[in-house]
């Protein structure tokens, strides 16, 4: 009984370390085989359509609503201190620094990441990847790397669109609906938001999230057991793992960027 549980623990540890190592080697292999993704850029553009353009609706709509809610809630809190002109600062800084990159990344993980995992997992289950290898086509260069770069390019664009939509939503609610002064809304925002400190750091965050999400999604798909259950389990793991990775990375990046640890 005791021996059994210790064996279980050992087995899980070995499996976990093996998966980590495999994921790291997989990541390096993607980088090494990226040549095709840029030489035949049509492949990457095709994947950008599926992971970027098709995510637009959900990103834009949620950005608008997050911004509108920020406008309402921020106004309620700020007016108790008589400083409702600072609404622009509150909406812009929370979106550009945190909510834009993080919420866009979470949505991207569930909208595009899961689709990537399911697609690659099914390709593996139906032995399309093995067939490519038989034809001397490297599946990492032909299938995996274009999806990786498409995600890495799409993610900052989606995050920027999310932030812009959110600020527009905050403007709609704060200025048009509640009646905060328009001039001070924008001018206070402009004096508080710094290009390097806030906007550039937000873009860097979203690029890092893009790398993390697509790597996890591709790896889970590539590593999925070739059964229906295996693919469904891998899809679930993609969403859970990449969401947790985004939140953890966000904490680490924020600590580095804004506290200067």
């Amino acid at each position: 009984m005791l021996r059994q549980s210790i064996e279980n623990l050992g087995n899980r540890t070995i499996h976990g370390v093996w998966r980590m190592g495999f994921a790291a080697r997989f990541f390096v292999a993607i980088l090494l085989h990226s040549g095709t993704a840029f030489r035949r850029f049509g492949l990457t553009i095709r994947e950008m359509y599926f992971s970027g353009v098709l995510s637009l609706i959900i990103i834009l709509v949620s950005g608008l609503f997050v911004g509108m809610v920020l406008g309402l809630q921020g106004y309620e809190t700020l007016q108790t201190y008589g400083s409702e002109e600072a609404l622009g600062i509150l909406v812009a800084l929370s979106l550009v620094r945190e909510l834009g990159p993080v919420v866009a990344a979470l949505l991207f993980a569930s909208r595009a990441g899961s689709a990537i995992t399911a697609e690659i997992g099914l390709m593996k289950a139906t032995e399309q990847l093995s067939a490519m290898e038989m034809m001397a086509v490297d599946p990492i260069a032909r299938v995996v790397a274009p999806r990786f770069w498409a995600g890495v390019i799409s993610m900052p664009l989606l995050a920027a669109l999310f932030s812009a939509m959110g600020i527009f939503g905050g403007y709609l609610v704060g200025v048009q609906l509640i009646g905060v002064d328009e001039g001070s809304f924008w001018s206070q925002m402009q004096s508080a938001v710094d290009f390097e400190q806030d906007i550039l750091n937000g873009v860097i965050k979203s690029v890092v999230f893009g790398v993390a999400i697509t790597t996890i999604a591709l790896f889970e798909g590539y590593d999925a057991p070739p059964t229906a259950e295996g693919v469904s389990g891998a899809t679930t793991r993609t969403v859970v793992t990449s969401s947790l990775a985004v939140l953890a990375l966000d904490f680490v990046l924020t600590a580095f960027m804004f506290r200067g640890i």
């Binding site: 553009i45 812009a92 900052p156 664009l157 989606l158 924008w186 004096s191 710094d194 290009f195």
Partner: protein, 154 residues
């Protein structure tokens, strides 16, 4: 789906993303935050800077003319040496005075420049000699109580 239609959509997506980035850079964070090379630095020494922070605005007549670049403590004179980075477009006389002020009652602190009457202007790495420290609330209350006590004794 047709290849060209796909390219068109991705192109539109990329353009929309870049427009959003430009909107963030220009409209949300004013592009003036990007440091232009056209600036010069002057040093001002204060006995007490209060809560002044790097990147605080430097204003003259209420207009932002520069930013606080650096704050150091001078261990020889026991003063704070504040480096101001001023816009090259604005030249100030040599006897300009600098004071640390607060916007509003609880607002952020900034440096106010009051132009003097000298015919020569401040150059890069010059020093502003006339400075006025930040008002520390505790000292102000202390002075007030002291003054009241003096009044009481005939």
């Amino acid at each position: 789906m047709n290849r060209t239609v796909l390219d068109l959509w991705v192109g539109l997506f990329v353009i929309a993303g870049i427009v959003a980035l430009l909107f963030l850079a220009l409209k949300v964070g004013s592009m003036s935050a990007i440091k232009t090379a056209e600036s010069y630095e002057v040093v001002a020494r204060f006995d007490n800077i209060g809560g002044l922070k790097p990147r605080a605005p430097v204003k003259s007549a209420g207009v932002v003319v520069g930013r606080v670049a650096d704050i150091r403590f001078d261990n020889e004179t026991y003063e704070a040496a504040v480096t101001l980075r001023l816009d090259k477009r604005y030249a100030f006389p040599k006897d300009t005075s600098a004071a640390i002020m607060t916007s509003g009652l609880l607002g952020e602190q900034y440096i106010g420049l009051e132009a003097g009457g000298d015919s020569q202007t401040l150059k890069d790495q010059d020093r502003i000699f006339l400075t006025q420290s930040a008002v520390v609330l505790e000292n102000l209350i202390g002075q007030f109580i002291y003054g009241k006590a003096q009044e009481g004794t005939p």
